[in-house]
Symmetry: C2
Subunit: 338 residues, 2 copies
Amino acid sequence: MSSFALAYERFGEPGEVLQKVPIQPERTLKNSQVLVKYIASPINPADINTIQGVYPLKPASFPAIGGNEGVAEVLRIGPNVKSIQVGDKVIPAPAATGTWTTHRVLTEKDFIVLDKNVDPLFAAQITVNPGTAYRMLQDFVKLQEGDSVIQNGGNSAVGVYAIQLAKLWNIKTINVIRDRPDVDELRQYLKSLGADYVLTEEEIRKKEVMDEILSKVGKPKLALNCVGGQCATDCVRHLADGGTMVTYGGMSKKPVVLPTGSFIFKDHRFVGFWMTRWSKANQTSPKRIKMLSELSQLNSEKKLIIPKTIQVKLDDYKEVFETIQKGFSNSKYVFTFE
Amino acid sequence: MSSFALAYERFGEPGEVLQKVPIQPERTLKNSQVLVKYIASPINPADINTIQGVYPLKPASFPAIGGNEGVAEVLRIGPNVKSIQVGDKVIPAPAATGTWTTHRVLTEKDFIVLDKNVDPLFAAQITVNPGTAYRMLQDFVKLQEGDSVIQNGGNSAVGVYAIQLAKLWNIKTINVIRDRPDVDELRQYLKSLGADYVLTEEEIRKKEVMDEILSKVGKPKLALNCVGGQCATDCVRHLADGGTMVTYGGMSKKPVVLPTGSFIFKDHRFVGFWMTRWSKANQTSPKRIKMLSELSQLNSEKKLIIPKTIQVKLDDYKEVFETIQKGFSNSKYVFTFE
């Protein structure tokens, strides 16, 4: 059994500080220990920021193994393990256990068992992006069928899941994207996922455009914001009185600018969502298990589609991080292990 | 009985559109009607904005009588009135009934009876400013004794009540004010009301100053914002993780600018408070009656002091509004009727 991991001993650029190192998983499992073999582990933007040392989530100690999400198969279990069987497909329950590794030994309570038939590429990415979309649509505003939601970054990793889940739950979505040469292609793609309206940042500033849409779907009670800056303010302008904006990203690197009247006269609420905090508070809570099971089920029924992912090998990590850092690709990279 | 009111038939500057007009209160009261004689009615900034037509609260019809708050004495009651007696001190329950008037006839349910011994100058102003401070300290964060609150506009009409109520409830206050020639005098005044710390907008930007204060009282769980702009952002920087900022004004006329990390990593919440909305939803609710009774009680025990008010006559309204509009005075003007 050849075992390797991508580990780092200091903060820095992933391509520089990560090293492929041999690891030695315990041969004899004690008590509640579980040995797993990773199948697929994605590279999320937060993983890169963690390695750079600029993310609030820090590794417990060095050397640390990179990666936060992933799906694995159980190879062996310790004598006291009750809820996990050899062959189970599992994901790690805590954050930042290190998933860019061929093998890992953790204890029983550190894993959540998924349906054996789940698509590994979906399972590997289930907690962060689909989970964030699911929670933001569920936890902040009591949405009813026919209600509308506005979101910017409509084509973001979370945005495409929000579109799909909203469609499944009969919630209308108004999706804002940046203008680009292939904007009509992107519009078509998001509509094929279930988006009701796809508008550029310029279009949502046009009163006549938005008046017509809002006359059909009503003012959104919920806004999802991963952009900040002018685009966030523009979304707030259309929010229903008493509505909530949930901020989960700041891709423009600009702050959220909110007019006073929005707070006082429109009774808008502004909150944030961070999956790392939610997962920590709900590691193996019934709420989390229910969500993961629902999401897996929807994916296996082909109702929840994974956006484009590119499978890469651990061995090629230097090139992969170079490509990601250059920003040449919006696709999601996933390490897959044979 | 000579009866007059300050009324307006169109939106505009108060000094121009308001007119002192004779009114004829009903001589024979029917059913649940109540005739009151006003004792004192303050001029709030929102009253001026209402007359200008720039406030979300609009008069039901024209001509409209100005004024939103005030205390009155009951002169006569209709045959079906049960809960109100002649001689009672009352305040209007709904917003914008028109209080800049010597007399008014409304129905029983439109009045709330206060303790007969309440100071009329306090009673006249009880709903808006002390009420706003009370609700913001009670309704958004579960504060415990020893917790701290940060507020800007510490010397605002609401701010001085927040200082006093917090002191009574054993909540520490960090109060931010604008620098000014007589800043030390203002510091002393606010400390005499119970302020724990009074800092200028420049001082809260100094790490060493704030570090020392926060080491003593802990990071505030609640921030009250009536300024916006840079000062609001600076207050948010000191807010405890999971803390809430309540915006109830925007005196700088600048929006509230919030860094993305504040939402995501610090789990800050940003909401607004508008007493007009709260009062509408709680016109004669037990919550409101309890609050008014507590505030009256505290005032009669000299534990809750009214900031400086200037008593003026209805006849002098043109000069009064001229002075207010010129911004020459920060004092509160109150119409008093003999």
